[in-house]
Structure formats: C-alpha cells, structure tokens
Amino acid sequence: MADEQASIALLLRDSPLHDSFRDESAFASQFESLQRRTTRAFKPAPSYHLTFSLFAGGSAPSSWDIETAAEQYINPLLQALSSISDFTVDTQVQLHASISPAIAGPTFDTPTITWTLLASDLSGFVNAAEWPLSPGIGSGSTINLILYVPHPRQTPLTLSGGGNSWIIPQWGGVQILNPASNTTSHLSAAHIEPVMLTFADQLMSLLGVPDSPPSLSLRIAALQRERTTSLILSASSTLGALVRLTRKLQSIAIPKTVAHSVELTISHLEQACTALSEGDYAAALTSAKVAEAEAEKAFFEPSMVGQVYFPEEHKFAVYVPLLGPMGVPLVMTLIKEARGLVGRRKGKVKVG
C-alpha cells in the first residue's frame, strides 16, 4: 500500500499535477529503489511481442520443447496480465551464435575449471550485429528473452558474481544454460523448466510489476493503477505538445481526423478520471489506454510534418540575388547623404 502510494507519488513528481499532491516527503526515501524499477521496465505500450530465442554457441542443441513449456509456464501469466496489454509469443533457434567481439569474452578460471564472464561484459553480451533479433512488426514493443547455450569449448560458463541470468533494461533478459552433455541436440520440456521460471520472473520485472505484496493478483492490481496514472499523464502531455506545435507553426493545416482524435482523447481522459475517483479501476485503465492511443495517433499524423512548412529565411534567400544589386547602391548613397546632412547641420550651427 505504502509502496503503491510512493510509486504514484514518483510518477506525479515530474508532472504539473505535482503541487496538488501533498506530503510526498514521506516517500522520498523509497524513491531511489522505485526509480530503479521504473528505469528497468518497458514504457507502457498497447501490445508486447515476446520473443524466446535459443542461441547455441556451437551447432547443438538445435531444437527445444518451447511450445509445451511456454504453454505451461508463460501463458497463465500472460492471461493474468491481459488487462494491462496484449501479448504475442514467438520463438526461434539460432546456431553458431558467437559472442560479440566488442567485449573481453569469457576467461578460463583454472581453480574452478569454469569459464567466467565479467560483470562489465554483460551489457555488451548480445551481439546485435550478428544475432537476428529484429523487432516485431506492428505497433508495440518487443521483449527479447534469450537462452544462451555456450559452445562446447566454453562450457561451463558462469558469471563472475555468481548466478546465470541478468536483465537488460527496456530490452529483455538473458540466461545461460550449461548442458549436461555436449551432444544433446534437443532440449526437452523437463530440461527447460527452471529456464522458463526464470524467464517468467524476468518478464515480471521488465513489465514493471511491483515486488510486494506476495500475492500476484494484488501486484497486478497495483500495476493496473500505476499504468492508468502513467497513461493519463502521457496522454495529456502529448496533447499539450500538440497544442504547442500548432501555436508555433501558424501555417500548419490540421486535418479532421486529428481534431476527432483530440476530442476522443479528451473525453476518454475525463472518463478515466471519473472512473478513478469512483474506484472502477478496470474501466479507468481501458479509458486511459484508448486516450493514449488516440493522442499518439493525433500527434504522429504523417501529413502534419514540420519540415514541410518553409521558414521565412528561405524566402529571403530567394529574393536577395534579385534585390541585392539594387539595394546596395541605394544603401551606400543613403549613408553618404546622411553623413552629408549631419555635416551640413553642424556647419550651419557653427556659422549661425
């Protein structure tokens, strides 16, 4: 409860609604840990594409029972989260995945006979140049969950600080699995059960689900309310940016669709606020989602691009070659005449 209040206070801190919220000094101590949770999580999006990838350093394993494992462990979680966003799942297997040459790479640790990966290498581990991790087509963000099976020459592979998985903020999570034997070409569902549980955990933190209280449904409810707040804030700031843009570029033409979207946004924002005050959190979330979608659609209307409207300097540049040769002698003569006039006036004053 206190955590939720603190997180909402954090959300409102940077917004214009800040002064109406009282007594936030009590939560200042929790802000740091909450800040870390929000920077790690994805921005609120209407849909998320989950991609489970198996990267093998060598030529094995070349298949895994991901369909049954995902059905068993991930789908229930996604159904519980269905009120927040839509989710799509796809999986892939990639072989001969070499580690990025930009990092130092695993070093052999003779006492424990393992290969260790330094903590500084973790952020650069994903070889974006070679590993095909193209984002999903369509709207929404992509969450990449990677299972890496090292090359037989580099097993077993561990992290220097212990553990075998880590999260890359706002991108996804990576896990390392050292296979029992070097020649398995297929990972069975039983084999990847602990892997899926870690993936579920990583997914929860990537979506920004709060850590406490222990009950999952209460945490999801808390996430719903936080989501509603952030969506309302983002929709209203987008609207404000749109208004400032129209004021700055006076000559911009606003299409009817944009006007309609703005109307819808405002009405849905009002509905969301009334629903929140009444305590109907589910309705508030749906209205807030619609408001956000309409605001984004209005702002990113392709025909309202700022570069199409020429600034006034361009018109100046066109007329200077024509008026320059005329203007320069006029200006010089004007200056000479002005000096002459001033001199004559001085002379008159002297004489008279």
Binding site: E67, T91, V93
Partner: protein, 630 residues
C-alpha cells in the same frame, strides 16, 4: 527428349527436397553443384532448403525457418515469395542452357514477385505489396522500397504458383516488380547468409565470400518461399524456403591471389601461336584460343576450403557436394567421404563436421568427347534503336534453334516515360496468339505488355515497336542524370509442350534509355545574369542621376587615396635609397635635394597662384553673371 534431359537436374533436386520433407516436417538440407564450363569457367550452384510445418509457422515457433522473414510474410499475408538479386550476363552461346532452366535467376538488379492474399478487394493487395517491399528492403539492405506503383505490374500468363495453395488459390493476386538499376553487393549477401541456420560458419556456406562472389562473370542469389503439401503422410503442409546462389566464375580470375590481384601476361615461351596466320613470325604471335581445361583448386577459387558440415536432421544417403566432370578426369578430394552412385559423370561427396573439404583438379587437355551442354530453349536479345532525344524504337530478336515450333510468353514492364506506340507493333516471322496490354499513366503506372507468340522451328523472329520519350520534371532526374535511365529486362517464358506447369525462363539484358536532360546549372545562370543586368543597368542609371560633379581639389581626401599615396611614396623612397651609393651621386642627390626643396616652394607659390587664379576666375564669373542680369 531434350526437355527430359533439361529437367533432369532440377528433378533430382526436387526429389531430394521431397524425400526430406517426408522424413520430418522441420528439415534442412544443403547442396553444392560444381560444373566446369567451356572457356575456363566454373558454374557453382549452392542450394539451401529449410522447411517448417504450417502449424508451427502459424503459431510462430521457428527452428530452421528464419523468423525475421516469416514475420514479414505473416504480416503482409504473402503466401508465396520469389526474390532475386542478379548481376552479370550468362553467355548462352558458349555455356548453353541456363541453370535450372532459368527458374532460379532474375533480371539484372533485383526482381521480386509474390502471391499476396487479396482479401477480395483491389487496393488491399497493393497496400500489402508496398508493406512487403518496404520490410524486405530493410531486411536485405537493398533499396527495394523503390518498387512502387510505377514499377509494379500484374503478369497474366508469365508465372504460375510453384506451391500447393489448395483452395486459397483463387484469392491470391500476383504482383511483380523489377529494379534494374540496383547494384548487388556484399551488403546483400550478409543478410542472405544470416537467414541460414548455419550462418556461413559451417558447411558449404563457408565458401560464400563477397570478394569472390561479386567478382564472378554472372551471379544470382535467389530466395523462394512456397507451401508444399505432401500427400503421403497425412497431408501436413509445410512451408519451404529455398535459398540458392548460382554463379559462373572465370577460373583464372578467381585463382588470382587476393593480395596480388594484378593480372600478368604469360611468358612468351608458354603462349601457343596460331601458325595459320600470315603474319606469324618470331616476333609476331596471334595466341590460340585456350581449349584446355585449366587446373583449379576449390580453396583457391573460393578463397578458402569448406569448413565443417551443417548436418541437421539429415539422413545417411544425403550428400553435400556434387562435381560433374567426365569420368576420366582425375580429381583429388580431401576431407570428405565420397559416396558412390551409378552415374559416371557425377561424383558425390559428404562433408564431415571435423575437417575442411578441398577439391583439386589438375590441368587436362581438351577432352575427346566433351560434356554435352544443353541447347538453350531460346536465344533472346533486345536493343533500343533510333537516334535523337525524342523518339526511338525497341527491337527484340528471338531465335529458335530447335526443330520444333515454340510457344512463348513475352513480357515487358516499361517505365511511364517510355511511351510505346502500339499501332507500330510488328512481328516478323512469327504468329501472335494473344496480347495483354495495360497502357501507362504518367507518374502512376508503367506500361505492361505481354504477348503469347509462336515461333516456327529453326527460325528467328523480330519484334519491333516505336516509342516516344517523355520530358521529366526538373526534380525527377536522378543525381547522375546524363547517364540515362534503366529499362527493366524483358522476361520470356517458353511454355512446355505438354502444357500445364513448367517451362523455362530466358531474360534479356536491361537497357539504358537516354532521355532529354536539361542543363541543371540554369537556375544558377539565371540568378547570376539577372543580378548582373540589374547591377549594371540600375547601378549606372542611379549613378548618373545622383552623382554630383565637383572640381578635383574640392573633393575631400578619401582615406583610401591617402593610404595609396603614402604606400607609393614609401616604395619610391626605398627604391631611391637602393640606387643611391656613390659620393658623387650623393652630392648630386644633395644638389638635387636642394633643388627639389626649392621646387615644392615654387610649386606651392604656383598653386597658390593658381588658387588665386581660380578665385579670380570665380570672381570673373560672378561679374559676368551680374553684367548679364543687369
């Protein structure tokens, strides 16, 4: 007879793929076919085939099928896709029929055709097509996004779907686009290799290197995606992706060391002279055409040996590399096991995961009975005739070398600025069965011309029509406007005798069309000329009107004139110091100095006098005026 031999190669490959399909729905095979060609060339055909069951495809669980391509196909509802990147020219006369009957190659540049789920409307396929070309452009680092409505046509008889679409076939629409100006290079090969499961790190894909591939005389990269429904085991359909790279490379050129690629002539002792020439002597030599088969090594031709093997779910009878040479040619293979098959001209090898594979063939004099090359079904060439920037004519020559008449479909997709006159379409020595023609709309749609022709046996047909060139707007010209514009190659499909699916494809070369090009420096010239005219005219007139004439002495000394005068005096003083040196000269200089000292005072008196004179003159003038008035 001819057709069966022509189709024997693709038939064997097709059998291979079907066999593996029945084995397991997720499958992957790869194969390399090597065939030495006349005139020291080598034809290498790499084929990579992966399949995925349609149920796994629809639920987005991928194993060997590339996920990035599958996403694009799912999103744009494309059911069958054929994409080609080609450069170079296949020499029909020397090398015979095209590999796989031209079904795995495209016109120069990029060629793309796909069957898209129409959704029952006219505009939906075009939207999906535009999304498809934009996504493929990003995936393959090629500017495929330039295939817009001006370059897209809908062929009628030219292509048939290669996959089994079942009941959906009626709702699919075929769209075809070509980009002849596109340059194909390593940045297109890298994404191609990334789609493979073994990613160019194991197996025959390690031989694919950008330096050697794009140095070849002719090369073509192809990606074909189609659904295949095998009737045998319960009829589960699979989606198959076939990636192939076909290249004809010149052996001496590829064998040159990469660090020393300069070609050097052979020593005169090694050159065989043609002794029948009249000028043949000890110092004049006309070299004989080389007919011997040169020595070559696989690692030298491709840059390095094939490392490892990519054996994923393969059965024991599969082989990786096939070399097609006469049975008496000695071949030395290392690092692979040779499989024995009844055929005597083909040797099959199977790579092993732990060693690298190399083939070396020593040089050999021209064989007594060389490998019979298949006669191509048709020879097709096309040129633009005419002169001037206003009109021209298109001239296509189709030659049938066989003893039976041919029925063919000839398709051209012309840009809108090339306006053909259809009433001038003439066909000599052939019969036109049908004509499909969609006229062009300026800046919206190009011309689509499709003809079904019959050519009699052993004869040549000429197809000509006149056209007119359009003048484009100033901003529509490309950066190097005087190079000209590329016209897409014409595609010819030779229909097989039994009708139905099948047929060979022959493509002409692309053409360069020179349109009337404006002088792009004119805006600058106009601005400069206008400014100059205004400056001269207005400036002179303005000066005449506003200039006040005063006597030279009354002009206030301008600072610039003072600076110039002082500089001149300083220079004179320096020169004077240099020339002076003798006592006499110095005395003379003193005397001169004395004289000159007097002179200014005299001059001053004179000028004063002058000034007085002027004042007197003014007084004179005033008196005269007074006298006139009174």
């Amino acid at each position: 007879m001819h057709l069966s031999t022509l189709l024997s190669l693709p038939a064997s490959l097709a059998l291979l793929t079907l066999a593996t399909v029945y084995a397991s729905p997720h499958s992957y095979t790869e194969h390399l076919h090597l065939l030495p060609l006349p005139q020291s060339h080598l034809h290498a055909h790499f084929n990579f085939t992966a399949t995925t069951p349609l149920s796994a495809y629809e639920s987005s669980h991928f194993r060997y099928f590339p996920r990035s391509l599958a996403q694009i196909l799912q999103h744009t509802r494309t059911k069958e896709l054929h994409l080609r990147f080609t450069t170079g020219r296949w020499d029909d006369e020397s090398w015979g029929a095209r590999p796989l009957d031209g079904t795995r190659e495209g016109g120069t540049g990029v060629e793309l055709w796909a069957w898209v789920d129409g959704g029952g409307s006219k505009t939906v396929p075009e939207e999906r097509w535009s999304e498809l070309v934009n996504s493929l452009s990003g995936l393959f680092c090629a500017s495929l996004n330039f295939i817009d409505s001006t370059k897209t046509v809908r062929p009628v008889r030219l292509f048939e779907p290669e996959g089994d679409h079942g009941s959906e076939k009626g709702g699919l629409q075929l769209l075809h686009g070509m980009l002849p100006h596109e340059v194909v290079c390593t940045e297109n090969l890298t994404p191609f290799l990334k789609l493979l499961p073994c990613k160019g790190k194991a197996g025959i894909s390690t031989l694919l290197d950008g330096h050697k591939l794009f140095d070849a005389t002719w090369q073509s990269m192809a990606i074909d995606v189609r659904p295949v429904c095998g009737a045998a085991d319960g009829g589960e359909c699979v989606l198959e992706i076939q990636q192939s790279v076909s290249m004809a490379l010149s052996i001496p050129r590829s064998m040159r060391d990469r660090h020393d690629p300069i070609p050097r002539p052979a020593k005169i002792e090694d050159v065989q002279c043609d002794e029948s020439k009249p000028w043949n002597g000890h110092d004049t030599c006309f070299p004989n055409a080389v007919t011997d088969e040169p020595a070559w090594t696989l690692s030298k031709v491709f840059g390095h040996a094939a490392k490892g093997a990519c054996d994923l779910e393969r059965n024991d009878q599969a082989f990786d590399v096939t070399l097609e040479v006469p049975s008496d040619r000695p071949v030395n293979a290392t690092g692979a096991s040779e499989l024995t098959f009844p055929s005597t001209t083909r040797r099959h090898y199977r790579l092993s995961a732990s060693s690298s594979f190399d083939l070396s063939l020593p040089a050999c004099p021209s064989p007594v009975n060389p490998m019979a090359l298949f006669t191509p079904p048709l020879y097709a060439t096309r040129q633009i005739a005419g002169h001037g920037q206003e009109r021209g004519s298109m001239h296509t020559t189709l030659r049938n070398p066989h003893a039976h008449p041919l029925t063919l479909v000839y398709m051209e997709s012309l840009p809108w600025y090339l306006r053909p006159y259809m009433h001038t379409l003439r066909l000599s020595n052939g019969k036109q069965e049908k004509l499909y023609y969609t006229p062009a709309l300026d800046r919206e749609r190009g011309t689509h011309l499709e003809l079904v022709l019959t050519i009699p046996a052993q004869s040549t047909t000429t197809l000509t029509y006149d056209f007119e060139k359009a003048v484009l707007r100033y901003t529509e010209y490309p950066p190097d406007a005087n190079r000209g514009f590329d016209v897409a190659p014409a595609v010819v499909r030779v229909l097989s005798e039994h009708g139905g699916f099948g047929g060979s494809y022959v493509r002409t070369t692309s053409l360069l069309l020179s349109l009337p090009t404006p002088d792009f420096s004119m805006p600058y010239n106009v601005i400069i000329l206008t400014s100059t005219v205004i400056a001269l005219g207005f400036g002179s007139l303005f000066n005449l009107l506003t200039r006040s004439f005063v006597l030279a002495e009354e002009v206030p000394p301008s600072p610039l004139a003072g600076i110039i005068r002082r500089a001149r005096d300083a220079v004179k003083g320096l020169l004077g110091k240099k020339t002076g040196g003798d006592e006499k000269e110095s005395k003379a200089a003193d005397a001169q100095a004395g004289e000159t000292a007097e002179a200014p005072s005299l001059a001053k008196e004179r000028t004063d006098g002058k000034a007085n004179g002027i004042a007197n003159g003014h007084a004179d003038l005033r008196e005269r005026k007074a006298r006139v008035v009174t």
